[in-house]
C-alpha cells in the first residue's frame, strides 16, 4: 500500500537545509539538497532521541545537533561514531510545488 502524504511546500525548505515534519505521532526530516533534490528520513537520530531537523546539512550529509553524528540523508547510511545504526529513508516526490512523502505501512 502506498500512502503519499503532503509534507510541506517545496519552498518551505531552503537549499541545503532540512525541516521537521510530524505525522500521526511520528516525526520525519525532509531535506533539500544543494542540487535541488528532495529526500526524507526518520526525524530522530538513531543514536539518541534528538531531532535531526535542528542539525546541519552539508552536501549530502545531515549532522545531528547534539553529538554531531553524521548520516547520508540520501541513503540513510550512518557515517561513523557516535552513530552506528542507519537512518530509515522514505520515497519522496514534488508535485505542483508540494513535497509528498510515501510512508507506506
Amino acid at each position: 500500500m502506498s500512502d503519499w502524504i503532503e509534507a510541506c511546500a517545496a519552498d518551505d525548505i531552503d537549499e541545503e537545509d532540512v525541516i521537521r515534519f510530524d505525522h500521526e505521532g511520528r516525526t520525519f526530516a525532509i531535506y533539500r539538497s544543494p542540487d535541488d533534490e528532495f529526500f526524507a528520513t526518520d526525524g530522530l537520530c538513531t543514536h539518541e532521541h534528538i531531532h535531526l531537523a535542528d542539525g546541519l546539512v552539508m552536501d549530502d550529509i545531515i549532522e545531528c545537533p547534539k553529538h554531531n553524528g553524521r548520516f547520508s540523508y540520501k541513503t540513510g547510511q550512518a557515517k561513523g561514531a557516535p552513530v552506528c545504526v542507519n537512518l530509515k529513508t522514505y520515497p519522496i516526490r514534488v508535485e505542483a510545488g508540494k513535497v509528498l512523502i510515501q510512508l507506506g505501512q
Binding site: M58, E63, H67, N68, A81
Partner: protein, 364 residues
C-alpha cells in the same frame, strides 16, 4: 521532584544513582535551549577551515620552534622556559583540540578534524575511541550523577586529587593504567556502558599503538642516557597540564548537578586572548553545551546573541575561582551545597521540578 541525592552520591556508571537517573527522567532528558532563528543558527553552525588551519599552524609550529630551542639549550637553565611553554601547548592546548575536533566542528574538512583529533588525543593521553563516546555521554547527561563519565570534581570534592591534576599526576597515571589494560585486550565494565560493542576493538588497537610509541620513547631515552625524549613525549602531559586544569575546572565546578539546564550547571568565563587560544574558546561553556554544533570560532558571536537568556559570565578566571573555591570548601562539609546561578530577568525559566525546594535550600 527533589534533585538532592543525600546522603552521598554514587558516581559509578553502573551504580545506584545511574539507575535512579534513568528512573527519574534525568538521563537522556530534553535540555533547555535558547530560541535562535534557524537562519542565524545555520550561520553560526557553518563550517570553515580557515580559523582552525591558522590556529593549528600556530599551535604545532610553535611547538616545533620551542622544542628546537629547548633541545639546543638542553643542559642549561635556559632550556626551562622553552620547555615550559612547549609543555602548555602539549599538555593543555591538546585538551581543547581533542575536544573540538572530537565534535567535528573545528574544520570543515573531515580528515583535518580526524588528524588533529588523533594527535591531540595522544598528547592528552585520552583514547580517541573511548573519549569520543564518553564525551557524547557527557553532552547527553551533563553533570548527572551516575551518568556523566567526565565529572571533574565529584562531591564531596577531593581537593588533593584536584591539586595533583594541575601537574597531571593522577590523570596521567590513570591514563597509563587504562592504556595498559586496553592494550592487553580488556575493556572495562564501565567503558562498555557507553562504548558500543562494535567499537570496542578500536579502543584496544589504539592502546596498543600508543604503548609501542611510549615503549620506543623510553627505549630511546635509555639508549641516549638522557631524559630528553621523555621531556618531549609523555612528560609534557604532566608539566604542561596546569592550564587545561585551571580552565577546565571552571566549566562546571561548584555548580548544580542533576539539572537539565546548562545555564545552571555550566559556567561561561571571559578570559584573556592567550588562554582563549590555548582553550579554543571553551570558556563560552554554557553556549557550547547548549549548541555543541557551533564551532569554537563562532562561540563569541553565539554568546553575544543569547546572553540575554544566560547568567552573567564571570569576568575573569580569578573571579571564577573566587566563587568556585569557597563552594568546594563548603561542599567538604555539605556535599549538597552548590552555587545557584541567577538567570537574568529576560531569561526563560525551565523545568523547575528538577531544581526543587531542597536543592534551593542546599544552595543557600
Amino acid at each position: 521532584m527533589d534533585a538532592v541525592l543525600s546522603p552521598s552520591r554514587d558516581y559509578s556508571l553502573i551504580g545506584r544513582d545511574s539507575a535512579r537517573a534513568v528512573e527519574t527522567g534525568l538521563a537522556a532528558a530534553e535540555w533547555y535551549h535558547t530560541d535562535i532563528p534557524r537562519k542565524d543558527m545555520k550561520e553560526l553552525m557553518k563550517r570553515v577551515d580557515g580559523p582552525a588551519i591558522r590556529d593549528t599552524a600556530i599551535w604545532l609550529g610553535s611547538m616545533i620552534v620551542l622544542a628546537a630551542l629547548g633541545i639546543a639549550l638542553w643542559g642549561t637553565i635556559w632550556c626551562v622556559p622553552f620547555f615550559l611553554a612547549y609543555g602548555v601547548l602539549y599538555g593543555s592546548a591538546s585538551d581543547s583540540r581533542w575536544h573540538e575536533c572530537g565534535h567535528g566542528t573545528a574544520f570543515k574538512t573531515r580528515w583535518m578534524n580526524d588528524a588533529v583529533y588523533q594527535i591531540a588525543c595522544f598528547m592528552i593521553m585520552r583514547n580517541p575511541v573511548t573519549w569520543r563516546w564518553s564525551h557524547a555521554r557527557h553532552h547527553t547527561d551533563t553533570v548527572i550523577v551516575g551518568r556523566d563519565p567526565e565529572i571533574a570534581v565529584m562531591r564531596p570534592p577531593d581537593l588533593l586529587r584536584v591539586a595533583l591534576n594541575f601537574f597531571g599526576i593522577l590523570d596521567a597515571w590513570h591514563a597509563v593504567i587504562d592504556m595498559a589494560r586496553n592494550a592487553s585486550g580488556i575493556v572495562s565494565a564501565e567503558e562498555k556502558t557507553f562504548i558500543p560493542e562494535q567499537e570496542q576493538h578500536k579502543v584496544i588497537r589504539v592502546a596498543r599503538i600508543w604503548a609501542l610509541i611510549y615503549a620506543a620513547t623510553i627505549t630511546l631515552a635509555l639508549y641516549m642516557g638522557s631524559i630528553l625524549p621523555l621531556v618531549l613525549i609523555g612528560l609534557p602531559r604532566l608539566y604542561g597540564a596546569w592550564h587545561h586544569v585551571l580552565t577546565g575546572l571552571l566549566q562546571h565546578g561548584g555548580l548544580a548537578d542533576n539539572v537539565i539546564d546548562h545555564r545552571l550547571n555550566s559556567r561561561t568565563v571571559l578570559m584573556n586572548p592567550v588562554s582563549r587560544f590555548i582553550y579554543w574558546n571553551m570558556n563560552y561553556h554554557v553556549e557550547h553545551h547548549m549548541f555543541p554544533m557551533v564551532p569554537y570560532h563562532a562561540l563569541p558571536r553565539l554568546h553575544a546573541m543569547i546572553k540575554h537568556d544566560l547568567p552573567a559570565p564571570n569576568p575573569s578566571i580569578l573571579d571564577g575561582y573566587r566563587e568556585m573555591v569557597p563552594a568546594f570548601l563548603r561542599q567538604l562539609r555539605n556535599e549538597d551545597y552548590y552555587l545557584r546561578r541567577k538567570l537574568p530577568l529576560t531569561a526563560k525559566p525551565y523545568r523547575e521540578e528538577f531544581h526543587g525546594k531542597a536543592a534551593r535550600a542546599a544552595a543557600e
